[in-house]
Symmetry: C2
Subunit: 289 residues, 2 copies
């Protein structure tokens, strides 16, 4: 395992580039501390299992991150990105005989976000690019992200601040899964709901934190299930979650049918406010939504 904390480049033969053969994590750094580390680490464990990658040593990894922060003298907020690849080698798709993973640690500035995204909520549109059903790869944060890239670039950024992604369905109705770079929650019949992530989608760490919170606070108990887009018409509150941005209220969902552009609006903020008070404060993000 190569811990490349000061590396700005990787070899062009790295399988992360060749095949997207690896994982990544983007972790909020708050006052020099990794936020929700245990949840990121657990997802990395699951990802390594699914892709048959060797898991880095947790203590060594944390030490390397700390060294990088010390070297760059970083005490403020930011983002730590980890990329774990299968390294170089192998004959084509075949794993290398001596698999030597490459772990890249990089620091990025804390991304600011318009206060209006939090106070007014964001406007979203349902993307045409759907998520293919692939249970072998669902849930984990692997490096094959072309679906998200295509979906995120479908819409006008002035009008919409994120997209809603559905599952690919040849027959029947697709399910609503997540945002382009976020998970989706909503309140339906007074219940807090989120789409099941079993065939596609990413198990976000903020999503997991809310589910865990709900297990101890029955008012926020989360129901994971398959939901069709139409069920969102009845939702009273809708919000996106993301490890860096926290909780973002959704003000509207738009979608184009053959005939017209439909739009649903959401003004309720009861559950959103409580959760933002819990989680956005930890991320030093706006919480009086």
């Amino acid at each position: 395992m190569q811990y490349n904390k000061h590396l700005n480049t990787i070899d062009i033969t790295d399988r992360g580039l060749a095949y997207g053969d690896g994982l990544f994590e983007t972790i909020a750094l708050i006052n020099g501390q990794l936020h929700h580390w245990k949840l990121h680490w657990q997802r990395m464990i699951n990802g390594c299992k699914k892709l048959a990658l060797n898991l880095p040593d947790e203590n060594q990894l944390l030490e390397q991150i700390q060294q990088q922060l010390n070297t760059q003298n970083i005490l403020s907020n930011g983002v730590i990105k980890l990329i774990l690849t299968r390294g170089s080698g192998g004959r084509g798709y075949l794993f290398p005989e001596n698999q030597d993973e490459n772990l890249i640690i990089s620091y990025h500035q804390w991304p600011e976000r318009n206060i209006e995204d939090y106070t007014n909520g964001i406007n979203t549109i349902v993307c045409k690019t759907a998520l293919a059903k692939q249970p072998a790869l669902s849930g984990i944060k692997h490096l094959n992200r072309l679906e998200q890239v295509l979906a995120r670039n479908e819409f006008d950024n002035e009008k919409y601040q994120d997209g809603v992604m559905l599952s690919h369905a040849e027959q029947g109705s697709p399910f609503v899964i997540e945002g382009c770079s976020s998970n989706l929650f909503f309140v339906l019949n007074s219940k807090l709901c989120t789409p099941k992530i079993d065939n596609c989608g990413i198990l976000g760490t903020m999503r997991q934190a809310i589910i865990d919170f709900g297990l101890e606070n029955p008012l926020f108990l989360v129901q994971e299930d398959n939901f069709e887009l139409q069920q969102l018409e009845q939702a009273t509150e809708v919000f996106f979650t993301n490890s860096i941005y926290g909780i973002l209220p959704v003000a509207s969902i738009s979608y184009r049918t053959k005939q017209q552009l439909q739009q649903w609006f959401y003004n309720e903020r009861t559950i959103i406010r409580s959760l933002a008070n819990q989680f956005n404060t930890q991320l030093q993000r706006p919480f009086e939504l």
Copy 2:
């Protein structure tokens, strides 16, 4: 557009690594000449369209490849690999405002292959990892190849020389699509058949060359359709195609059901021999199969 002919590394912020946001081609180099260049180039055009990448300048690209061959004084056979990425930048999945693609050209040794793979044919097994249905990405040779990586590493390399991949099917029967790194052809009811590549799979250049050949030689007219695995039991000849290995007869297909291991064997070589005579000779691969 950066033409990186002598580059051994790329920046860790390159979107090819971050998201698999790009394309690749592996092209046979025979006596210093690019084999089936026009077919590779056409697939690159299609890939750039699907992913909204800027197409490199064809003449400039060919010139850069030639310069690299001259510098390394290469006159013999080998493989030229091209990787085209969206370059660095962008906010997350969002395309960079000034998209500046990265084109990496690398030379690799000509891979030898056991003569027995050609004379006896290869033994194959049906992989458990299925190909997700994603029309937005099918056909093109993009950098999101985790499905192939997982499938190729499912089986014992001593026993099986390649795998057969099926489409993911929640309901009904899956279709047979391709090999882990090859396309699949077979002779069924005296007709030369190959699976349609519309929902998943890669449109291989050797596959295209055979289809084009069949349009001028009615004996080899190719029927593209959806086929279920069970239809391969009735096939009289089965073969794989690949731009580097040419035509490889399939000697057997194995697959595990819950109850048992089933195996089908293929000894016929009539169509295979004619096509190998046409195409394997061009690649200086065995053709008396």
